[in-house]
Symmetry: C2
Subunit: 215 residues, 2 copies
Amino acid sequence: MLKIFDNISAPNKAKLLRLLETHQFTFQNETSIMSTIESDNIIGIISTGYAEIIRTDHNGNKSVIEQLEEEDIFGTEISSLKNPEYDIIAKENNTQVIIINYNNIINCKENNKAFYNEFIKNLLQLFTIKIKEKNERLNIITKKTIRDKILEYFSIEFKKHGSNYIYLPSTFTALADFLAIDRSAMTRELKNLKDEGLIAIKGKRITLLYNNNWF
Amino acid sequence: MLKIFDNISAPNKAKLLRLLETHQFTFQNETSIMSTIESDNIIGIISTGYAEIIRTDHNGNKSVIEQLEEEDIFGTEISSLKNPEYDIIAKENNTQVIIINYNNIINCKENNKAFYNEFIKNLLQLFTIKIKEKNERLNIITKKTIRDKILEYFSIEFKKHGSNYIYLPSTFTALADFLAIDRSAMTRELKNLKDEGLIAIKGKRITLLYNNNWF
DNA sequence: TATTCAATGTTGCAATTGCAACATTTTACA
DNA sequence: TGTAAAATGTTGCAATTGCAACATTGAATA
């Protein structure tokens, strides 16, 4: 998986961070990252540590929207962070974050610097992946019924995995959040699919029991 | 609104298209664009004319996902075009399309060419907008009830417009598609909102009748 | 202007879904 | 290892929603 500083050497990375007038911040576990960033339009990079983008709806229900590891990126525009439902929370002590003013990236004129061009292209590719992921989720969520949402999700994951089984990347609770459906209603429908012999579930391993021409 | 060739002169645009080994295709009204593009991972640009990204669900219901005018972009990765539910249809005779292999963009080493860097940055900004739009739609669609989806949509549009009224950009039918809800159920809920005195609707003009602190 | 087709408004009904509540199992960690 | 918290499984019930069907209005066009 591509990372934002791929193909940029350590010395060039240092030069890049100076060129873009970046700032570094350190956060302790469970502290909010966005509340200390004053700027309007930024790209952030997790330098060390781990953080999560959390959404809290008006009932107080929280869900994890994204998990951010080292060299993962976030941003006001690309992560809905201007929406008050969203926040980024550091999940480890001494989580270090690099903050870049997005305008500095766009307005920088140092096109002759290879490391700068490499950075832009990495960003472009990461954005492409983000768009693709969001399209996938939209294609799932816009299905009418819970059954269709589940099957569309499985369809995509089976294709990615290239086999007739997958392992859930997280919990069923998180999957229900991702599919934007009620967890118990999802469990009910998964049971239906099992009873009809379409899938088998053993822990986090889900097996496809019919030929769907998906791979 | 930023366009893909902004700040690139006509002669430089010609050089750019040669550098990226682009191909031009012409389509007649109602013909499918994707079915004639053989390549795996491309970015397309509407050069002249008009096209639409159409989604057809398994019941045969069609919905317009995106409207593409001159200098608008699309792509296999960024527009779900590998998903067989999607297609791009030319909506005017002699709609011209520029096709660029995405790898040519990423692997191009001509960093010293200003027009190439300008192009990359324009692409980056267009991608940023796309991500933001998809986030907005996700934030709407993941609301549980039809009422909450409608109100979230209005909230965003009122904020953008900076006033207590908006004009629907298209039809109510298209809005129901966008919100991924049944049209008649949406009409029913809009009526409820009217009856409760929260909004007023006159043709495509929708007025907010309560103070929501949105602007 | 007449005609056709798309968009809108409305409603009853059945199906789906969310919600609450609870038992059971698994996981995290003190 | 013991304990608390989180995740999972289950179910009844009420509310929401999709669907079908139809009338009405509006827009496009020959």
